[in-house]
Amino acid sequence: MNDDKTTIIIKRKGQRPTESFDKAKLHQSIVSATLSARTPDGQADNIAHAVTNYVLEWLESRPEVTSHDIRLVATRHLRSHHPDAAYLYEQHRTTL
């Protein structure tokens, strides 16, 4: 499994400072999207664990990725667990 500190995240096409991958932050964002789709707490947490672990595996061989890449990969995997939550997660940046 990938160490949280080894992958660098490039945010908003480099317009904001880079930061290290934060597993808790990704987990929380997936939980929020899943809860927004009116999913019970426990199920939201389980789905977020599964998606976060998938993203961690995907990051293992990648020292540097963009936040957009992470969103795409997380959305793709979240869609197989909860299509409505994946839709909300994907739409978050394009609602406004």
Binding site: S36, A37, A85, Y87, Q91, T95
Partner: protein, 237 residues
């Protein structure tokens, strides 16, 4: 222009205002963040009601302010050239809405400055109390003025011609009708509808909403031009 025609114009302008989507987008984001943060349904409803109230109050204030300014400048009857300019503005904004209202990308992103959009998005995430939601509603109306300015200005021009009592009725009609969409979304959220369904409906129908808003603005511009300017000129001849 008689009272019935004036109120009909105000009603159509308010319906056009209601079809604009910025406040609906912010309400969707706000409720999504509130539900995602595990707030109780009562708190979600309080926050979203605070937001809807803020939008309503700012709409009321903005229309009253524009009407008051016109009343001070023109008295009870604006000159013909002002009507002509405002009709041109309505048609211009209508065409702009057809071409530029939504960004050409997935989702429901609007052609508002990205700094405004980011600010509203960040504030909707940070909003924790009803008072903050209320002020977010006030700010949202200000951010949308580029589009809602035209229907508000024509409503104000129509309203200043009416007797005092009917001016208040007109302002009330405009404020209530312009809030209809937002209020419907608030009811849907309160009755447990999924945000994903609401957002999906908005995305699927965004081109229709864009066409309807732009078309209605253009039609309103032509209607007012014909009923106010052409009829006055032909009456004078």
């Amino acid at each position: 222009m008689d009272i019935a025609s004036s109120l009909a114009i105000v009603t159509l302008a308010a319906l056009i205002h209601a079809s604009f989507q910025l406040s609906v987008s912010v309400l969707t984001l706000l409720s999504g963040h509130a539900i995602g943060a595990r707030h109780s349904q009562a708190r979600v409803m309080r926050l979203t009601f605070g937001f809807v109230s803020g939008v309503g109050v700012m709409t009321l204030l903005a229309l009253s302010f524009i009407s008051l300014v016109f009343l001070h400048i023109f008295g009870n009857e604006a000159p013909q050239f002002v009507w002509a300019i405002v009709c041109g503005l309505l048609i211009g904004v209508g065409l702009a809405v057809w071409f530029f209202y939504y960004r050409r990308e997935k989702g429901t992103s609007l052609w508002i400055p990205r700094s405004f959009a980011r600010h509203l998005s960040d504030r909707s995430k940070a909003t924790k109390s009803g008072a903050e939601a209320f002020s977010l509603g006030l700010t949202t109306v200000m951010s949308e003025l580029l589009f809602i300015g035209a229907p508000m200005i024509i409503s104000a021009l129509v309203l200043i011609q009416l007797p005092g009592y009917w001016q208040l009725v007109g302002i009330a009609i405009y404020s209530v009708i312009s809030l209809l969409t937002l209020f419907s979304i608030w009811v849907l959220i309160g009755s447990g509808h999924k945000l994903s369904s609401i957002q999906k409906w908005r995305e699927d129908n965004k081109h229709f909403l864009q066409f309807a808003a732009g078309g209605a603005l253009t039609v309103l511009g032509f209607f007012v031009y014909v009923s106010k300017i052409v009829s006055d000129v032909s009456g004078a001849l």
